[in-house]
Amino acid sequence: MNKVEGGRISGRQLAAMLILSRIVPITIAFPLITGIEVPQDAWIASLLGMLLAIPFVLLVVRLGLRFPHKTIIEYSEILLGKCLGKLVGLVLVLYWIHTAATVARALGEAYTIAIMPETPILVFMIIMGFLAANAARNGLEVVGRAGESVVWIVLFFLVLMFVLPFDVMHFRNLAPVLSRGFRPVAAPMGTATSFFLQFIVLGMVMPYLNRPEDAARFSIYAVLVSGLLMTSLTVALVAVFGPTVSGLTMPAFSLGRMVSIAQFLERIEAVTMGAWTLSVWIKLALFLWASAVGLAQLFGVSRFQPLLYPLGAIVVAFGILSYESYTHLQIFHEFRHFGIFSFIVALGTTGILYLVALMRRSLSPGVRR
């Protein structure tokens, strides 16, 4: 077993981290809502996207189970040979760095737009980058435990957010169902799935599970919980705002603004923002950890910890340089950019690895190479 990371996490911690990672994109360009043609059908797209994600997750888990105690970086080298394998590993690491950079940028944008317009965006990104790198430096165990304790808080506030505005919900807004057929639903569905494709980070986490056979169960829990949560959010959003919802900048916060309970609890969007920030923290830490360990394994470095602060800095800089503006970030998350990109990178690499594994017959159980 590789000594780069020595921690052990439980299935529940894995599920917590994955759920938190999946619900991060509720603010930036709520991908199912913003710019969608037929918002009434967004929930169908969300549900179908979730179902499509399950085979992918199973694929990653199956690959991981065939190579116990090996990360995806290591077994891609075994399957594809040194040169190609390292190339695939590098692509994956860059993909994770890019994901982290996007998340960091989204955090900064959300704060500068919604709450503190006068503070420079870098302040938020640097602080969050530092906190996440700091957590990841302590190893996967710490990230997992932090995720496990944070996930309840985040879920509580998210559920609060789409339950409390019940008085302004009009479920008639959801009709008509599939008024223009399946065609306009396809693209948002792809986007929903492409966020689930980030679960390829499982390939990095799986060898550190205390019971690897739990991986399938808990990652499917994660897919279901986060998928249903996103679906309920879309339903609530459309029910509250009607078809105009696709024009909102940050729909989830607009939803928070609608809360008014007993003339005391009003406009809880800042609290929701706080909970969301915690999930951003975990996602950033997870992906920073994955890229650091991945890099360490690619280049044969024995410790990943020294890589984390530099990686954090790279992620922040990358986040600033990658997108010109919030609109740019939003456009990037449309299916024709983000979706296709994720499908090529995540599905492409796992698909190739799986096919090669099939061809080399190393998929028969128990074969260790």
Binding site: N138, A146, I268
Partner: protein
């Protein structure tokens, strides 16, 4: 990071300390066969201290054999010395042929009422005497006898002052180690309660006891405690806090990772969970390892009152823990950046209050917190008679005057006062102090970045807490990692009949046996 800085700054000092360790191991002094020589040597060893008592006695039928009785005044029970040692030696009318025979007789018969022991060297003789024992030397014999006649003035067992309960035992530990172990032994009347004693401190030779229940405590844990204690190299141990800093896992953390308590019932509970207690002579505070976060929010009463009440109190305490950590920061963040979160009338009244105040909310909060901390510190240090005066002047006059003078808003005074009270709801003082320190950076973060700052601060604290360990046990144990079977006795307290398993990380998993 801090640790590295520390090492750089204090490298030289560490080196000097390690080179100082070489000069031990001089030859032990033997007991001379001539009494006057021994007498002079003992006197010299104690520097002719005023409380050293040397008595020359003659024993046997014709007073043929002379003996020397040594003890320290105040450390020995005077009556015991007179009756069990001096009378036995002086009043005997035995016919002895030799000093050797007299010595054997004394050892085996005459002095046997006082747990007599034999020592070979003068050094250990002197050490026993300074430990409070009564030493006896016989002319012509190169060995000495040591009788246990220890007895000194000690505080009687009374209610622990720092951990008061309404219901439950009123006994607290005292400063004498033996009394404290007896308090534990009385609660756990089993031979499986094992007490290991060691001396720590090159000069002070303080007795430290490791207490655990064999078969319940993990042997590896006990060994770890032993190792850490043995590694301590100091000249004296003043209090268990001194030991705590030497053996704790994270010396640079604001959070304590070792629980200290004055209550024998708390120690008993911990022992039965498979934890290890460390008792130190000279202090009523026992240490319990490993300690987890929830233990610091637990009071013995949770277990004695009915479980609904116990659970409710725990939630209340957890809430006040968060209040004492974040309330001023949240207030600063909300009034400075997020006024929209409050209901309109409240915003208006807060804004009206802050109308004439010259400082931003952060400065106001830090000022008031500082004043509160000074008041608290003064209240603790002052003689008890003056105490109420300080709280009246401090609490009422300063608070009121600050508002009238327009230096602070009433809402801020309310927030700071409530935070202060909330921090006292934490049952263990050492956790409360750490939180009080962390409050200031939280206020600063809130003043600079609003709620984002508060969340970032909380995330940093959470990351730190999850990385903490206490003797191998994760500090946030039943919460992160979640251990379902231990959650029964963490934030809530399940009824007694449901508490049938030991904590997963300490003790053997099987139910109480």
């Amino acid at each position: 990071m801090l640790r590295k800085l520390w090492q750089v700054l204090f490298k030289r000092r560490q080196r000097r300390q390690s080179s100082g360790q070489v000069r031990t191991g001089s030859a032990e002094k033997r007991i001379s066969s001539e009494l006057p020589v021994n007498r002079e040597r003992i006197k010299a060893a104690f520097g002719n201290s005023a409380d050293l008592v040397l008595q020359d006695l003659e024993t046997g039928a014709q007073g043929k054999v002379s003996a020397l009785v040594v003890h320290i005044d105040g450390l020995c029970d005077k009556r015991l010395v007179a009756e069990v040692v001096i009378r036995q030696i002086a009043d005997t009318e035995h016919e002895w042929n030799s000093a050797k025979q007299a010595y054997m007789d004394l050892k085996d018969r005459l002095l046997s009422g006082s747990a007599v022991k034999e020592v070979d060297s003068l050094d250990s003789f002197v050490a026993s005497v300074s430990d409070g024992k009564c030493g006896v030397l016989v002319d012509g014999v190169t060995r000495g006898l040591v009788c246990d006649t220890r007895g000194w003035a000690q505080r009687s067992i009374d209610e622990p002052t720092t951990e008061v309960t309404v219901r439950g035992s009123k006994e607290g530990f005292v400063e004498t180690l033996r009394t404290n172990t007896s308090l534990l032994r009385r609660r756990i009347a089993s031979s499986r309660l094992w007490i290991e004693e060691m001396k720590i401190g090159r000069i002070s030779r303080t007795s430290v006891a490791i207490v655990y229940i064999s078969g319940v405590a993990d042997e590896k844990l006990v060994q770890e405690v032993r190792n850490r204690l043995e590694r301590i190299d100091v000249s004296a141990v003043y209090e268990s806090g001194h030991l705590e800093e030497h053996i704790e896992d994270a010396p640079f953390s604001p959070f304590p990772t070792i629980l200290r308590t004055e209550r024998p019932d708390k120690v008993t509970g911990a022992l039965l969970e498979g934890r290890v207690a460390i008792l130190t002579d000279g202090t009523p505070f026992a240490l319990i390892v490993p300690a987890t976060f929830t233990m610091f929010l637990t009071a013995p009463e949770d277990y004695y009152e009915r479980y609904f009440i116990g659970s409710a109190l725990r939630i209340l305490r957890l809430a006040s823990f968060f209040i004492s950590l974040t309330l001023p920061a949240l207030y600063v963040a909300v009034t400075t950046f997020h006024q929209e979160m409050l209901p309109t009338p409240l915003v208006l009244s807060v804004a009206a209050q802050r109308e004439g105040i010259p400082f931003p909310a952060v400065v106001e909060a830090v000022l008031m917190e500082l004043i509160f901390e000074v008041l608290r510190e003064a209240g603790v240090r002052l003689p008890r008679v003056v105490g109420p005066a300080v709280s009246i002047i401090g609490g009422l006059v300063i608070g009121d005057a600050a508002i009238r003078a327009g230096l602070a808003s009433p809402a801020m005074v309310l927030v700071v006062a409530f935070t202060g009270i909330a921090s006292f709801a934490t049952p263990v003082f050492s956790l409360a102090i750490g939180v009080r320190l962390l409050r200031f950076p939280m206020i600063a973060l809130a003043g600079a970045l609003g709620l984002f700052g508060v969340v970032a601060g909380m995330a940093a604290i959470l990351a730190h807490l999850t990385a903490l360990r206490s003797f191998g046990v994760p500090f946030l144990e039943p919460l992160a990692p979640v251990v379902l079977s231990d959650l029964k006795d963490a934030l809530l307290r399940a009824p007694w009949w449901a508490l049938d398993t030991r904590p997963r990380f300490t003790g053997k998993a099987r139910p109480v046996s």
